[in-house]
Subunit: 504 residues, 2 copies
């Protein structure tokens, strides 16, 4: 067979063809290299800090000047169009969807108003608007303490720095109304110089310290969950901390562990209750949202998948890979979350999540019904003259059963994060509720009751709120007045303050 | 740079070196090819049918002559050394481990004797030895029907072929004692000509037919589960089938679906009960082992993983890949089962299985306690003169609660196969048990009871069996007499029969 040199000798034109083809090829390579370099340059330009961000800068827009992609995706948390089968981004009135909740929380703020959470961008608006915060006309009025702001805004680390942590927690919610205006954002999780992930809330750091752990030693992958764990956890306001008596100090009940039993034992030991139930008079614990705890107990957490891996997956735009800051349900972004690891169709994956949710919801609903019955039966017992001694064990059962129910109901995504654990929790709740009702059944007969205690008409939120005696008209009026007379002042004062901050 | 031809011209010896090196290389390749060919030959030899297997041949050893690897691995099911945290291969006395079971099954055979299952190789030995089959001295004696043999042996398809299916199901267990001698094996799942997987038990085919499905259209991968589903399912003996009245005809209760509620509705509709509970007099359903059903409801089943994929994974020996017929817990073979798909350490994988099992067991134990209480409280109500009308709803609750408990307890591996579904089942069982006990509590007071019904002493199997009034001494004696006088005759008769079979 002839080699290429022989062929060229025979047909010199062939040499020229090869030469020109090579030239074209090299030119094309050059174009490609140029394109890559250009993209790199763009990346560098975008990633580079251009304006200096002030320490503890609470305004997300200021950070956004240097990080437009992260900022723009963050503000997409304002999108409320997605709603999964069991809730999600949209503003759903949960009390309307399930009026039993009103009875379960009788005597507590959540019975007044409880909407399905919206995105982080609404954090401050929603706390202004909810009936739970009431209509304070002065800074020392209203039902909620200052501590309630803690998870709502990057103004909080700024304020804590200015006032000191303990001082920040003191007083009523209205006290910080002019100060807390920027919704959850950049400064909550990032260092303004290095952009490293950063824990800005003391409660998490303190909880680690009490367990003998140093949060500074957390890996970057752990931090991708821990920044979320600043808020998405079970917490309570402790008014009896040594040296801090009287201040509702935000505290995580993790000293004995993170399981539902560990935290219950913790609360029992310090005899803590969030409120006394209006019907049963049981000393209740309101579960907040033990998302981090449950995530750690599920298979994704156990295999080292972080919150950000699914709720803030990587994204590429204009040649730049960045973390999508549109924090949302992975069900609205299956391709970039689940499907990075799981080779299954989007439909199948979503179906698997729904199936877990359905199964947990089914038994949780049963527990809810048992709890409603237990509360109204306990009320009947009090009405018939039951003594504290007769009621003590019953109320403890109710407390423990509802703590378990709420643990499974309040945690966002718990039915997906740890469905087997949540199933266990609901089951143990059913046992406690059943214990309470068996004791009540005997006591009620002893107190002379004939027949059953009727189940209340809970066919609508309004009927349920009427049943527990909530003055809804008055509450709504107070809130309207607050929004009309107080809120504009807060906003104006904040604007002036922030303008001054820039001028500094 | 000089090319190789120029170099050889300078040093002719180099040409010889290259020539000899080539020769050596080609020789080595020849050796390799020979080795591969030899392995192939061995494979072909082993895979090839050498002796003709007779139709419906029940003796595993005969099949083993042609398939030594499959046969040898099958006989490893005799290995009882492995035991997982919650049981497994070894012969564990479950009534000793959990004496509550004795009370739950009062009036039914399982309260006499219930051991943790051993491998398939022991199927016939174990049914000879269990107290449940009693000590029949004649073929028309004993507590169990002939139908009980159905899942124990490849002699069953042979017998069904000889007698006809309906005739096979008639009579007492002792009737087939001389006929059924070979433990579960080859002919239960394979066609003797093609070695294709084959359904040999009519109940599964009939269940498919009633659902309008043709089992002939099942894929090979589906068959890798369906051959197991001939036995590892929920079933019952129907004595009221049209045209077959009186015959305990093996039937799967799948007509309404496979969920615990579907099958419960099926049993309720035909008013079926396996037995009447000795204490509560509730019409009970004994759940068998709904393994296939639960597997279908879990993530592995949903993603198309078959029983054989994990319980009989592929294995390579002497260059031949074959299906490991040592059917066993995948926990004893993690490397070839779980780790084929899951890139996790063996320790982590086993831990995840144990965690699921622990969580389900915890709440199932609670349900067990509630059920024991319900049975003894119901007995008390009868003792105090309760009427059928007063007890009807209570007994239905007990029936449904125990059906759910048993569904979660009787299924092998259910806590792993479908832990979320099993959690749901246990929860719904807790609700039913609690309903029963609430009604009982009121009824007992109405009937004049003061105080609580005492919980029996269930600290040992013996105490539990005494509590329900079982004549254990007598049962054991009967069994010994059977093993001494009847069993040897069965074995001798079978040997003679099989010798004749070969001579044909």
């Amino acid at each position: 067979m002839k080699n290429i040199n022989d062929r060229i000798k025979e047909k010199p034109i062939l040499g020229w063809v090869i030469f020109i083809a090579s030239l074209v090829g090299v030119f094309a390579l050059g174009l490609l290299a140029s394109s890559i370099t250009e993209r790199r340059a763009e990346s560098t330009l975008i990633g580079k800090v251009q304006t200096t961000i002030k320490p503890l800068e609470p305004r997300n827009e200021k950070w956004g000047e240097n990080f437009p992609r992260e900022f723009q995706s963050y503000y997409e948390t304002a999108d409320t169009t997605f709603r999964s089968k069991h809730g999600g981004g949209a503003m759903v009135d949960m009390l309307e969807e399930d009026p039993r909740l009103v009875v379960l929380w009788a005597g507590y703020g959540f019975s007044k108003d409880y909407n399905q959470g919206r995105g982080h961008a609404y954090a401050v608006d929603d706390i202004h608007n909810t009936l739970r915060t009431g209509g304070p006309m002065h800074e020392d009025e209203g039902p909620m303490p200052a501590t309630c702001w803690t998870c709502k805004s990057p103004d909080v680390p700024r304020l804590m720095n200015e006032l000191g942590v303990e001082e920040y927690y003191k007083g009523k919610w209205a006290r910080h109304g002019e100060e807390v205006v920027n919704p959850i954002g950049c400064a909550d999780c990032h260092d303004e110089k290095t952009m490293n992930l950063k824990i800005t809330r003391p409660a998490l750091v303190e909880a680690f310290e009490r367990q003998g752990k140093d949060i500074q030693k957390a890996t970057h992958q752990e931090m991708r969950s821990l920044v979320c764990a600043q808020c998405h956890v079970e917490y309570y306001f402790d008014k009896n901390l040594p040296g801090k008596e009287g201040t509702p100090y935000l505290t995580f009940p993790w000293d004995k562990g993170m399981s539902v039993e560990d935290m219950e034992a913790y609360f029992d030991e310090i005899e803590f209750s969030d409120w006394t139930h209006k019907l049963s008079r049981a000393p209740m614990i309101k579960t907040q949202h033990p998302d981090y705890e449950l995530h750690q107990m599920g298979i994704h957490g156990q295999r080292g998948v972080s919150c950000a891996d699914c709720h803030m997956p990587y994204k590429t735009e204009g040649g730049q890979k960045f973390t999508d800051h549109k924090i949302q349900s992975p069900l609205n972004n299956v391709a970039n979350s689940c499907q990075v690891c799981h080779r299954e169709s989007e439909g199948n994956l979503i179906q698997s999540v729904y199936e877990r949710q359905d199964k947990i919801k089914e038994t949780r609903d049963e527990l809810e019904i048992q709890l409603v019955r237990a509360h109204v039966e306990a009320k009947k017992a009090w009405d018939l003259g039951a003594t504290e001694a007769q009621m003590k064990a019953i109320l403890k059962d109710i407390r423990h059963a509802q703590w378990r129910w709420d643990f499974s109901a309040a945690s966002h995504g718990g039915s997906f994060h740890a469905p087997v654990e949540l199933g266990r929790i609901v089951s143990t709740g059913l046992v406690k509720a059943s214990d309470a009702r068996l004791k009540l059944s005997k006591l009620l007969i002893e107190l002379g009751l004939k027949g059953d205690v009727p189940y209340p008409d809970l066919s609508s939120k309004e009927k349920a709120q009427e049943f527990i005696g909530l003055p809804m008209e008055k509450l709504r009026k107070e809130k309207e007045e607050f929004k009309e007379k107080v809120l504009p002042k807060w906003k104006a004062a904040a604007e002036a303050r922030e303008a001054g901050y820039d001028a500094k």
